[in-house]
Symmetry: C2
Subunit: 117 residues, 2 copies
DNA sequence: ATATATAGTTACCTTTTGGTATGTACAGTA
DNA sequence: TACTGTACATACCAAAAGGTAACTATATAT
């Protein structure tokens, strides 16, 4: 999995949460604790199934989230945060706070359907 | 400059500090306060001139850093942080802390020549 | 037999990002 | 006259990331 030559721990962290949708997915998981595939698709309207699966798989492989499969038909799969995923929370919060402040100062509009809490 | 449809303030922040070398550049600027082009090349051995200029220009355009040109020959240009750039510091610190902790847990080696302080 | 619901996969394409190598400008110095 | 130091720019290429559209599987309900 992870085996690049990182110049700095910052790069490692960026590698793990830098995907286009990862912040949003993690944020919803912090909020709801447990989410299913379809629920995430509804919470993140513009994401596609492919991107959702892709980002979830990467975060699972990196040990940020947990994937639990129930052997049922139709299938049921639940996603939740691991301790490493939980520990990301303050970073997300600070990035959101900084972004809000910056956007206010620069008059940038964010098409944001979610709130911080 | 910034005019994408962001899904979340997190994405905006990521857009501004997500470049391959931006964290490292910002970190050195936090440390040294003022840096010249050549000094940064020496501090970040694996970066190329092109990438350094590119990342600096983007951050300048986004208002994270300041570029001061002295009309001399040979040229002298100094880079420093703006208030928005300064405000990024706690995010960098948390990302570094989280990355260090994660790397320890997963036995990932980071070829890191810099220290946190 | 057909449709439903859920959670995917796959092939293909476009855009973005990062990297290599080389060229520019210009006053001062040997 | 050629070389140095500083801070770039530019053309070109390769790799990574992201996106679109269509296809899959299976028990149950109609």
């Amino acid at each position: 999995m992870i085996n690049f030559p990182f110049n700095c721990p910052f790069e490692l962290t960026l590698e793990l949460i830098g995907g286009k949708w990862k912040g949003l997915i993690l944020w919803h998981l912090h909020d709801k604790k447990v989410l299913r595939n379809g629920e995430m698709l509804r919470l993140i309207p513009r994401i596609t199934q492919k991107m959702l699966t892709q980002q979830l798989r990467e975060m699972e492989e990196n040990g940020l989230i947990r994937r639990v499969i129930y052997e049922q038909v139709p299938p049921k799969v639940e996603y939740s945060l691991t301790p490493h995923g939980e520990a990301i929370r303050p970073i997300l919060e600070m990035m959101i706070d900084w972004g809000v402040e910056y956007a206010r100062d620069k008059n940038i509009v964010i098409a944001c359907t979610q709130e911080k809490d």
